[in-house]
Symmetry: C3
């Protein structure tokens, strides 16, 4: 069994709020777990399309750092701050996803850690 | 490492809304990931008991397609559109689950992708 | 492949509401899945700090029962009944987590199964 971790501490996403100590990526044998990714720092000018694009780009970077890529994503969970943005979110998702190798997915609405976060995505991949 | 996928594209669950490109099932070695399952098409006449029954039947079918069954489910996540239906949902869950081999589970409330979806369930199983 | 399970049935967390038949822990080969853990029975006098402390203590116990510990947690999901308690929750999380081996994490707001539940945490660990 081998576990590797890439650490970070979320900083001041809320004034006076301590961020949690978490890893961005944890790899266990050939399974790569990513944290829930949001756009940091939060930007009230970014709509859900822009935020989805940035989140997916960050996911690409994190997967690459573990020697894998979006064609090997197994599972994705998506939280939208407002389900009325489902269609806009999906437009960007569908441009990005590998059409021959899409993951399973869940997408539900949830209030996120900062009011300017419109989307959060967590993926698990093989490598 | 072996990954297999069964694809589908969610169609018109909302008028004028593109559905996401996702798989229904992704199998990585001996772990089977299912998408979040809802009753398609959404039917406003189905109460949470009926929707839970249909979702669990669909999960049985998808597990069977990968050569496994509900006795090998490892983990389940349940989203209810209204937590006041927790008891009714659990009645159907408890009739269905293998009492000798229940999975771990989380159940929380969330607004789902369509207002007529009352329950969504995602499971991960061994095979 | 080896699967082991530790069972339990949630009792009367709501008056007249049947609890779901689930396991607290399911272990598949070297991956340990825990149920979403809340403080049972719900206590309206416990604030989110106290509940987080109790939930994490219960997670420690369950991990120990499978021969593992918090340094091997791979992934965590946190649901807060009120995202305004994010900072208080994180204080307790940060005191508890192994700073050299933090898991990936998601934290979103959700209505939980009982109004006195302020936090629910689910983890997956290696062993």
């Amino acid at each position: 069994m081998a576990i590797t971790r890439q650490h970070f501490m979320v900083g001041d996403i809320k004034a006076a709020a301590p961020g949690p100590v978490i890893s961005q990526v944890v790899t266990h044998n050939d399974t790569v777990y990513l944290a829930g990714i949001v756009t940091l720092p939060p930007n009230p000018d970014d709509d859900v399309r822009t935020q989805t694009r940035k989140v997916l780009q960050r996911i690409d970077e994190l997967l690459a750092s573990e020697g894998t890529d979006k064609s090997k994503i197994l599972s994705a969970q998506v939280w939208l701050a407002d389900m009325d943005t489902f269609a806009e979110h999906n437009e960007i998702w569908n441009e990005w996803v590998d059409p021959d190798n899409p993951p399973v997915r869940v997408c539900v609405e949830a209030r996120l850690a900062h009011p300017d976060f419109l989307v959060e995505i967590q993926v698990t991949a093989a490598r």
